[in-house]
Amino acid sequence: MQVRPVDPAAQVSIEPSALRDALTFLRDEGFDFLVFVTALDRPAEGVIELVYRLFSYAARVPVVVRVRVPRDGGRVPSVCDLYRTAEWHERETAELFGVEFSGHPDPRRLLLPDDLEGYPLRKDFTHPNLKPLPEVSAE
């Protein structure tokens, strides 16, 4: 399903294998600020879509790079050496969505307790303590 972006940022979708080259190119072109790294869970299509938002201070232009990986065993290369901020963003995304960032120097859990099983931000995440909200009526 295509999302219609309301954002002025250019959207670029690439293959996982091209991620490092793409980000290296963008960084060298002046996109020095990695705003965030996160993901979207798309269970209907069986993919997790990683989203990297970059910004160029010089040109004042944002760009969004999207990478789709399978929900099971999805893996992309880490970009910690290109952007130091990626270290923590990748750790968080990995533990919340279950994506592996290969080559990450310190892939420990960041926010979640060690004993939590499952990937909380996936749409099919369940936990005995998770209780659904009562449904909101239309009025």
Binding site: V3, T38, R60, T85, L96, R109
Partner: protein, 373 residues
């Protein structure tokens, strides 16, 4: 949170110092495990997640309007900025045209919030450094602002004031006289606090040249806000990705020269002065008009995604909202400044003395719930 690799205890002087999660100087519930060699910090392992509430997951099960109070509580000291970032994201999804008056009110509240947050930073920082008096002076000044904010929004700290489309109520009649009184007085109060703490010789000795980070590294670590600007980088969301009426307002972006702890402190003092300038202009040019745009009761933004950022007191606060139609968002990602600022701490502190830990951490102005969400 798993443990960091243990220090090499065979080489005599190395030992682990655990700072937190309960410690007066960490400004929140976080833990820093420092590997020390005598007095010198060899390595630093931050441990976060003590305040992780799973807000992003929570939002996927809330109506768009219901999310607004939660945004206050991510960073309770800059509730307005958080409100604004989220609300403006949803408004862009809806394609709303925001009336001028709403923008002016938003700017007034945001700048008051910025001053409030910086005053609290100064108070707590002074306390860490052993100066007890600036705390009380800063809180006296904060009280004036808090009263104004409460008049307008009903809340002193977690304001929950912004709504999608504007505000539920216009500013009360008592707001502007209070604001004028505040504007007349506060300039001198900033100077007083400046002289008392930031220009104090002992403070300068403890902070100048301490905890330097270069501009390139700061940007690479995703630092924003005063922490970035101290490293000779006058970059501010209000200028880089302008929003609201800021393009028409006249103000400067203060930037430090060396990227050390003192510069980070100085930048915040200067920002308070610049906020005063903005407040004066906004108060003078305050227009007539509607205080909101009507939106449907059942808010269902069309499918789309948007990232909306504002300049909060700590840096760039952004909300990335993905809608697939429906009354609840599909995904909300919160981009918080303290998260990235804190990740730079190991690099800044490596090689410094343990006594500098308190000074440097205070200068980053961290708010832990924002880091953990």
């Amino acid at each position: 949170m798993s443990e960091a690799p243990a220090p090499d205890l065979s080489t005599s002087d190395e030992f682990l110092l655990n700072v937190g999660p309960q410690h007066p100087a960490t400004h929140g519930v976080l833990r820093v495990v420092v590997t020390m060699d005598g007095e010198v910090v060899k390595d630093l392992q931050p441990h976060i997640g003590y305040v992780h509430r799973g807000l992003e997951k929570l939002f996927e099960n809330r109506l768009y309007e219901q999310i607004i109070p939660y945004t206050d509580r991510t960073d309770y000291l800059s509730a307005i900025a958080n409100n604004w970032a989220y609300v403006s994201a949803v408004e862009r999804l809806l394609g709303l045209e925001i009336p001028k008056k709403v923008e002016y009110i938003r700017v007034l509240m945001a700048e008051l919030n910025r001053i409030n947050s910086h005053l609290l930073w100064l108070a707590a920082y002074g306390l860490d450094m052993g100066a007890f008096t600036p705390f009380l002076y800063a809180f006296r000044d904060r009280e004036e602002i808090t009263v104004m904010v409460e008049e307008a929004s009903g809340g002193r700290l977690t304001t929950n004031y912004f709504r999608i489309g504007g505000f539920t109520r216009d500013l009360p009649a008592s707001f502007f006289p209070h604001l004028q009184k505040f504007l007349r007085r506060f300039g001198r109060a900033v100077d007083e606090l400046d002289t008392l703490l930031v220009e104090n010789a002992i403070f300068v000795a403890r902070t100048r040249g301490v905890g330097v980070i270069s501009r390139e590294r700061a940007i690479s670590y995703g630092m924003t806000g005063p922490c970035l600007r101290a490293s000779d980088a006058p970059l501010d969301v209000r200028r880089e990705m302008p929003y609201s009426i800021y393009p028409s307002l006249d103000f400067e972006i203060p930037a430090g020269r060396n990227g050390d702890t003192w510069d980070r402190s100085w930048v915040r003092i200067e920002e308070m002065r610049q906020s005063l300038r903005i407040l004066r202009q906004a108060a003078e040019g305050f227009p007539e008009g509607e205080h909101r745009v009507r939106v449907p009761r059942n808010l269902e933004p069309p499918a789309g995604e948007v990232y909306s950022a504002v300049e909060g007191p700590r840096g760039e606060v952004g909300f990335w909202v993905v809608s697939e139609g429906g009354r609840k968002p599909y995904r909300v990602k919160m981009r918080k400044p303290s998260f990235s600022n804190f990740s730079a701490l190991p690099e800044i502190l490596r090689g410094l003395k343990i006594a500098d830990l308190v000074a440097v951490m205070g200068s980053l102005d961290l708010v832990v719930p924002e880091i953990d969400r």
